[in-house]
Symmetry: C2
Subunit: 332 residues, 2 copies
């Protein structure tokens, strides 16, 4: 009996990525972006993201301008995650013919609103016809080779720093999806959480500060928390061959989290799209960095020898199973 051929849906996103890895430059893939030497003292960082209508965004929660902002923010965050300064983005846009020019211009306006904030630009792209709106963005950045932040560079003893509060973007999405269930919240809080979701801010602003504090004490391990804080910690540990101990009570949550009860921590760990950085560096530098970044930044735990990732709270120590990555979003 012939079995039917395996499909993309059968193996899921992770399964597909595993199958495609042998086709890629394995020494280069694995971080938020590719890192390429391009001459003395300079490395190029390149990162690509694809957004599909109905999968990554929907008219229900997102205007064209917001889609643009969020797409730019996600890509700039990948550059920040590697310590790179942006050079520009390209936009590969597929559109059904009935999309209005207003919508497309809204998308580009949103892209530019975010890009302009970081003095960078749309440097090229392609437009073509399709049956579904697809936005493929590639961002390029540059970094001094020895100052690239890598997922694989965490070392036992490092403190784990988050550069800002988590869970706010997921809480904002909740308010957009179920406005009726949350109308007891104050208007200002609602608006600020929705803003977290609609207009997340990539942390390109702190790359210079990180460089200043770390001085010659590189490498720094890390990535961004775009797929959730739990995912970031797990990825860093897996790529660095280390474990971690995270103090739940140390995780800075979004303002007003108390109104969301226990789900607030879930939002922080698994919600994603907060676009903060998760950095692993020696304790002294970690404390300096947190102090300089101010409210919202925190040391949330430490990197340990071994491979176990533990989550600790007032009630005890949980094994890594509690970091339930199945709760993360799989695109297939």
């Amino acid at each position: 009996m012939n079995l039917p051929p395996q499909t993309v849906g059968d193996v899921g996103e992770q399964g597909l990525l595993q199958r495609l890895l042998p086709f890629c430059a394995t020494n280069i893939v694995g971080d938020d972006g590719a890192l390429l030497a391009i001459g003395i003292g300079q490395s190029l960082v390149v990162t690509t993201d694809v957004l599909v209508d109905g999968v990554h965004f929907s008219d229900r929660t997102t205007s064209a301008e917001d889609i643009g902002w969020r797409a730019a923010a996600a890509n700039l965050s990948d550059l920040a995650a590697m310590g790179a300064a942006p050079l520009g983005i390209t936009v590969g846009l597929s559109l059904p013919p009935d999309v209005t020019l207003d919508w497309v211009e809204g998308l580009y306006r949103g892209l530019n609103l975010c890009l302009n904030k970081f003095n960078t630009k749309i440097i090229g792209g392609d437009v073509c016809r399709s049956s579904v709106i697809t936005v493929a963005i590639t961002a390029c950045g540059q970094v001094a080779p020895h100052r690239a932040i890598r997922r694989s560079a965490a070392r036992p003893g490092d403190a784990i720093v988050v550069t800002g509060p988590h869970g706010g973007s997921r809480a904002g999405l909740e308010l957009l999806l179920h406005p009726e269930q949350n109308n007891h919240l104050e208007v200002a809080l609602r608006q600020s959480l929705i803003e977290n979701h609609r207009r997340p801010i990539p942390r390109l602003d702190i790359i210079a500060q990180i460089n200043e504090i770390v001085k010659d004490n590189w490498p720094v391990g890390g990535m961004d928390s775009s797929d959730g804080l739990a995912d970031a910690v797990m990825q860093i540990c897996r790529c660095s061959g280390v474990g971690a101990e995270i103090d739940c009570n140390a995780i800075p949550l979004f303002p007003g989290w108390q109104k969301f009860g226990c789900t607030a921590l879930d939002y922080a760990l698994y919600g994603g799209e907060d676009f903060e950085l998760v950095l692993c560096l020696p304790e002294k530098e970690a404390i300096s960095l947190v102090r300089q970044l101010g409210e919202g930044a925190a040391v949330i735990g430490k990197i340990t020898a071994g491979v176990e990732v533990k989550l600790v709270d007032a009630k005890g120590v949980y094994p890594e199973q509690m970091l339930n990555l199945e709760a993360g979003f799989q695109h297939f």
Copy 2:
């Protein structure tokens, strides 16, 4: 009375690009790729192409491996068109869940077959779910800033060189689409034309030769002929503010063109996807280059003052209207 809002379909590809231009870094867009200074003596070239199932490829004429090859070739050709050496490509892939893993692996195999030929690699990407297969590729390359080939650099008096024969890819497509109408052709010719279409070869191989011959006599004007030879000449003239006179009889046509009668010249001018370079440089260097490239390369005309593009053949001189760009492919 309110008019319905204008759509992408109403204005077409060129109309849409005109609307989007104000959102882009206008000093950077306009060539086959973006050109960005990235430090002393180095410029980065970035180019993006999106291919959509049913628009740019179809199972009828193209295997997954061929789609991969052609996608890589198109992007590498954009780098060659700017005189750049490849650094790598990223692949943003959107897939319906029922696509087989065999198909996806075929695509990546095809990409790598072409990339390996030029010692370059897949350096990153993204995969996600969609209702239609979409392949968004971004290629990065580098070039010394004063040795970038630009569409805007043609000057009156320059000779116009094509680096190889034209029309073969379009003829090959014809054989794939209508095998029954062309079964009088010899098998070897059929196969070679189909190969032109299935596995076009970007001209990265000649960048070193161009540099050697041109020496310090830069800039060189030019682009690739991916959208047809007529389109390339028109784009170069428009961007450089010059005219051109093309000798139809000098255009090198694909082997066996005689079997296609008058359509052969149409294929060469409007068929596209030959992925040769169209270069504008002083006559002396042009002749040296053609001699060095050998059979298939030719001087096909010259750049003139003014803005008229003339097509000349044994029967006389035709005005630029004969370069009927409406015959080109518009994606909306």
